[in-house]
């Protein structure tokens, strides 16, 4: 497996589990509304956060580390502002982080992204596990995780909600449309983690201080990661976005009834009767 053969730039962990977690910083996605009861809620401003599912990925990695020891390295690819999310990850308990940041990466679609992340992880030396989120809230493809596994040609288990490491193997519970599946793979392997499957721990103050001044976040250029730049960015992306059209939600705002409950309900039921949903 290529993954194991690459000459390690970083000293391999001799004991415990070495885990690489891939995380992306995304604009806060929740649909914001004005809530007079709570405090300040805004629709404006481009606050960003760790991709929600990636926080679950970090948490799963931390749980595995709590049990088996070892080291967790967070990896993100994006502009320098992404450092903020890596700081959060360090604040949660991740040991160190690498931000892959280079103009050459701008405009990458899932193909160069998985290539770049995969290659960079090999520079970390031996890793037992690579953990990604199931999908990002801004591009929501869910293809980067399997893409990384494909590049490295290591086992993948996706949509994982829980995982255990035992005897050099990973056993993971996978949530699928019709239920759950339990899968097994040998290490190293890649997992993608389902959003909401666990409760990510909050960053703590001392760990945040460490993130800020502990020299634990490195910024790598494409060259530092020894990437083939012709395979990166816009140029290296097979797909192009030819057009973006904004969709105003299929605005069908129809009749909204307000006032006395008895009346509003009766109006609604009449409408449903007219359209044949209820008889009588």
């Amino acid at each position: 497996m290529r993954f194991l053969e690459t000459s390690p730039k970083v000293k391999p962990a001799t004991d415990g589990l070495k885990i690489a977690v891939c995380l992306k910083q995304v604009p806060k996605g929740e649909h914001l509304q004005i809530d007079p009861v709570r405090k300040t809620l805004k629709r404006e401003g481009v606050e960003s956060e760790i991709n929600p599912a990636d926080r679950n990925a970090v948490e799963l990695a931390l749980q595995l580390k709590d049990e088996h020891g070892g080291e967790i390295i967070a990896l993100s690819m994006g502009p320098p502002t992404f450092v903020r999310s890596l700081e959060t990850a360090i604040g949660m308990g991740v040991d160190r982080a690498v931000l892959l940041s280079d103009r050459a990466l701008a405009g990458s679609d899932t193909s160069p992204t998985s290539y770049a992340l995969a290659e960079t992880i090999t520079r970390f030396g031996r890793s037992g596990l690579i953990i990604c989120g199931e999908e990002t809230s801004d591009s929501s493809t869910g293809h980067v995780g399997p893409g990384i596994a494909g590049h490295l040609d290591i086992p993948q288990i996706t949509y994982v909600i829980d995982a255990k490491v035992k005897d050099g193997k990973i056993i993971a519970q996978r949530a699928v449309e019709f239920g759950f599946e339990f899968w097994e793979a040998s290490l190293p392997a890649l997992l993608t983690v389902k959003f909401g499957c666990n409760r990510p721990r909050e960053p703590t103050l001392t760990r945040k201080i460490k993130a800020k001044r502990g020299n634990v976040i490195q910024i790598w250029s494409a060259r530092d990661a020894a990437l083939d730049t012709s395979r990166l960015g816009l140029e290296g992306s097979p797909t192009v976005v030819s057009e973006i059209e904004t969709v105003d939600l299929p605005s069908r705002r129809g009749e909204v009834f307000t006032g006395d409950t008895k009346e509003t309900v009766s109006k609604l039921l009449n409408r449903l009767k007219e359209s044949g949903f209820i008889r009588g």
């Binding site: 899932t110 801004d138 293809h143 990384i148 596994a149 949530a175 797909t239 069908r252 307000t258």
Partner: protein
Amino acid sequence: MAEKEYNGIMVFLEHRKNMLRNASIQLVGEGRRLADLLNIELSGALLGKGLVALAQEAIQYGLDKVHLVEHELLRDYAPRPYATALAELVDRRKPEALLFGATMNGREVAGRLHAYIHTGLAADCTAFDVTEDGYIEMIRPAFGGKSLAHILCKKTKPQMASARPNVFPAPEKDVNRKGEIVREMVQLTEKDVDTKCLSVVEYESEAEILSRAEIILSGGYGLKKKENFALLEELAELLHGVVGASRKVVDIGWFPRERQIGQTGKTVRPRLYFAIGISGAVQHLAGMERSEKIVAINSDPSSSIFEIADYGIVGNMLEVLPEMIRQLKEMQQEAGQSSS
């Protein structure tokens, strides 16, 4: 022209328990439309073991041809052997486009495959079109559904895309339709099977209920507590509907996960959808905005759910639902009396 080396559209046919999955059937329908527009062949890629009957059935939905890849090591689905076999098939048959249902397996195998064969992959498309110069325009929601991105893949072949389930209508089966079944050999060894499914816990019947339901009543955080779902159940019974839920209430354990509707839950398109105490976050809308008629019940008139509702009641669901149950019972009683 080197380009012409690639031809036809190929659809990855997913199956489970000896049945084609709905997402694949829907995709055959959409694939047919595109192939006809481009005047090219539509084929299916069917991987597994003992699947001749399924191949026939797939043709009846509108395929010209099925590439049947049968191998003992493909009997049970696993991402690596499937991606490996598909890579070999693509290399041999060179389809111009390769489409997957954006199911969990569909996405994971497509994601892996696009890294194997170094081509572009558009995820979770909700519409397709063809360009004047014969490419497929892959259209998908972006930025949480606030916009639609049109994606083209002109540099590499095949053009790959996954398509969101339950967006495209399933085609009618034509039992007289004939097509070719091409048996394909692939090289696989035990070492290719690097993950193993140990066991499956199913709740298929449960989940299917949602996709078949004509009327769905979904409850959200506005229900205030778990116990209030009883009101929804009661109403559902009166209306012959089934109950669904928003992610928030699923996350806090008020309702089972398999009934979650939205981007990370089920996509449904019932004839009538009730959103009760649901704010209308884009991620929820992604799963239900295609419903034929939408009714919103929410105490906050500025809730965005009203923007997509055909009918809405601004009110406290704790007052509205009991009143609705009361009036419905009354109507049914009257109806019962007049018919007897």
